[in-house]
């Protein structure tokens, strides 16, 4: 692998397909939790850890990490993803206008939604990415058809995404408002941030990586190519850091968690091949960490109870979520 640099835009590595392959195979958890396993690193969520995580609630503050789900969301058509279409099937104006006069006294509004499951704040399922025709735990990609994911579907995570959350606020650590698109996050950044924040990363944690890209988006007043475009994010050399920490999951405030442009000209989103396909690590995207970052900075507590349930959509490869940090 190439050398790399530690500052700003010049800190990117350069890796080949062979590098990605070797890393994926070396860090693979395929088989670790048995041939039937469909939840990967969520196996790290143990009852004991849930009890411990509940003990982190001190102030009782609840912070939602979800972006609004609406027509003004980040999507711009890349990867065929549109923003949510929220539709009404009964309204208050109907109620007043007489359209519900067949109802006995009660009047109501009702609604529905059409949305890509990855259009906003979301968890990637272990059926979302394939490498060499396989998904997590060595299952054939063919199991994910137009009928949905016959294995590794998001529904298996329904009762697992609760635990200790830790925020790593990288821009704050670096003394900047945000990391720049294309800027890579290396193990040294993560370790330095951990140390500066006076927090520890433990097995079974959910680690939330703030890059500040949402602050940048808000600063400029438009989404631009936030969805699908260049982003700060994980360098490939952080794969071991994430895999060996035995995290339950991690998330960022960017659309794909990885540094984009990728450090691998011949491989798109290589960390997904390593971490999602092979490590079986739950990956969260487009988490809004701005309010949480302010709260953590205010009192210096970067750990909290984290609950971010998926909707158990049968056979889904992703799920929208409203992640809660409970401090």
């Amino acid at each position: 692998m190439s050398d790399q640099h530690n500052s700003g835009q010049h800190n990117r590595g350069a890796y080949t397909h062979a590098d990605v392959h070797a890393l994926a195979k070396r860090l693979s958890n395929w088989g670790r939790w048995g041939a039937d396993d469909e939840i990967g690193t969520l196996n790290h969520v143990t009852r004991e850890r849930v009890v411990q995580a509940a003990g982190l609630v001190r102030s009782g503050e609840i912070i939602s990490l979800a972006l609004p789900f609406d027509a003004n969301g980040p999507q711009n058509g890349s990867f065929g993803r549109n923003n949510p279409v929220h539709y009404m099937t009964a309204t208050g104006t109907d109620a007043v206008g007489g359209a519900q006069n067949h109802m006995r006294v009660s009047r109501h509004a009702d609604d529905g939604i059409v949305m890509p499951l990855s259009c906003g704040t979301q968890w990637d399922g272990l059926s979302h990415i394939f490498y060499e025709g396989r998904m997590y735990n060595d299952r054939p990609a063919e199991l994910v058809s137009a009928g949905g994911a016959a294995r590794n579907g998001i529904e298996h995570t329904r009762d697992r995404i609760v635990g200790r959350g830790v925020l790593l606020d990288l821009p704050r650590y670096h003394g900047r408002p945000w990391l720049e698109p294309g800027e890579a996050i290396h193990p040294a950044d993560l370790d330095g941030c951990v140390q500066a924040q006076g927090v520890q990363i433990r097995e079974g944690d959910f680690v939330l990586i703030r890059t500040g890209q949402l602050a940048q988006v808000r600063d400029r007043g438009s989404w631009g190519d936030y969805a699908g475009g260049p982003a700060p994010g994980l360098s490939l050399d952080s794969a071991e850091w994430f895999a060996e920490a035995d995290l339950a999951g991690y998330a960022t405030d960017t659309w794909g968690t990885e540094v984009i442009p990728n450090e691998t000209p011949d491989v798109f989103q290589p960390m997904h091949i390593v971490l999602l396909v092979h490590v079986g690590l739950l990956i969260g995207e487009m988490f809004d960490l701005e309010e949480l970052a302010r709260a953590c900075a205010a009192d210096g507590r970067y750990e909290f109870l984290f609950a971010a349930p998926t909707l158990p959509i049968t056979g889904a490869v992703a799920s929208p979520t409203n992640p809660l940090a409970i401090r």
Copy 2:
């Protein structure tokens, strides 16, 4: 109001529109939390209570209370509600079949959903029901248009639905597998169940009422008219019980929480008029309480940390949820 009976199918009251009106106005919380309030009884979720609720986690067990969101769901077209349509926009079969060969090494699946927001396990928003042209906090129904709910939208609940959960297992209390459709739940049932379970109901609680209708559905092997049809549920005479307990919210394992047929021939779903429109009480529907009931019965602990975040869909009048009971 009429007399009523305390056993089986003969326990139903008979009330008039005037009764409902009087009850609604007497129990109303309009203005209680100010003219700008949009979350009603979720104001009972205080930081102190969240801290206390977190202290209820003993075993670390996480139980999901969501029904699967899929084409085999309970909906049958009543109220124009269909079951979710889960669609794929990229698949593993595509990946293997060559349809993604323009991608660099990585292959992926992607998906989306079309669904009524009230098609499965869900929270009613305070913009869901109207009475005499008004919704919660005396706002005009006209604020809920085809563009969504301009006020009282579900998005305001995004960081509020965490607290102490209490299960009231009425069939177990009555020594039966389930309550029958049409069977009303009265304050005496609730109080008796509370006492039998050795639990207390406190201000700010989320109370989950098990009727066992899902056990009945599973026993007969088909949904039938579970969605929109006859159901066991709350009697109108329990309105004070719910309102005066200052709960944060409540939910049942039925489609509408109220006893159906309603006890009011001239008013459909009268408790929604009282509790949702006037008390501003968060109402949860189609919560799957079967596994939770078994766990509570096994160790006698009927209280737990409860987290059931809504998806912050802008202007929505309801939200699907995956409620978690963390014990």
Copy 3:
């Protein structure tokens, strides 16, 4: 092949996979219109025939052959197909209720739809069915991915579905209100009906086969398993009749045009393999032929100008249509 019988429910053949294979390969049009062809028998629509068909308009009567597209349609979930969900995004009640007061004077309603393209009156595209991994004109099935049909998509038919239409009213020919589900239509039935009606079938025609199943549905007052269930329809022994007539297309008033149960225990919908995949014949389904049948019977004219345009949905494998018979 087995012998067969000519009356009522006993008129069904019995065929094997090998029979279907042989028939398909013998009647195949693959390559007939060149390796690039994507429209199959619509090549029979020539300018001369369009001019002749226009000459059939005598009375100026326009008859729509479309079922209503709405929530009360025939779908029951079989093949994952739901009925259309029609949603409003602006309403007249909104207009009156004040929700559009930001607009200058004008007020409006707006709407949308979610629907399977095969949920009602529709044309099958040549990308709809595969046999041994191939679709029409020997193209690999892999060309139809979650991104749509890269070849043989319905959009190629956009300017082709106009010509001479001929109704064959089989129940009327047989002196019955409708054919029964499971009843097969044989060449002798088709020829007898043609002769009795005093009409001729010509190259490039669109032939509409009335089985009367919609009359039966309306008579019993419910769809039942009209969509996906038993139906009267084409016997496999009529394949040559359809292929050798060099029709532009054909349609029936049933969900799948073939007799169901199929005459082939080991092959589902064998005629689609023969006629759609190999002959490249446009197939229309769920055409409402009742009003047309009454009109044709009234004046004895069974030929007309037929125009049934598809919506050019890029990459679609089917399209809803409102077919018009112009007499």
Copy 4:
């Protein structure tokens, strides 16, 4: 009313709300076809005219006037309209990948669509626009609720949109490739074009007005604000021309048919108030007239058989269409 100018960008009138009101009331057809009428000027489609229109077919050429319905369509979010979302529920890659191995021999692809009914080439229904709380034929706007249009729904047009079509190619008449956004079309333009083309406008015609904006869009290679933005189109002073010609309908190649910016600062889309609400005139939008214009110019024939059926979506206020010009 103000004076106006006859060339380029300076040809726009200036009108007030009072002008629009007076014009609408003076030209109104409310009641003309009875109090129960729901189709307005489609009453001009008579059997005799359909027969005559069929006689216009000379060359047998069929030209589709529909834009492709796909994700690359003109919509940009204005008026809450997205481009169509085409989704697959079964694919050829599935077939090959084994996901359909439970099927007997046959394999298939299936699909669906989510789309605003006004997202592409479409007809406005008579329930689409309201003025002073009324829609066509003096019906209250409240009849169009979240449940759809109880009256004046598009389904009533299902068997009416066939007749004589006439193309008016205004850019060609003016010797320019296209009219510019903001450029108004006046009666003198229409009459001059009619005369130059040597064609006549007759009662019951469907008149297609080419502005060339689609040529401009293609020339610049992007939709830009084609949907919802500035456009060439009808001046308010052409209202009488359209109303008094007793047309069956008209359409343009722009998103809203009217000149935009409107000539009425205080009224949005005033011609819709006059022509749709009061005259009851069917309005078609985003018709692709480029190929038709080339064909008409080539042989000098500007009249043809026109068939542009709506999909009979119950209660819809608009319908996509694939209009056919049959020459």
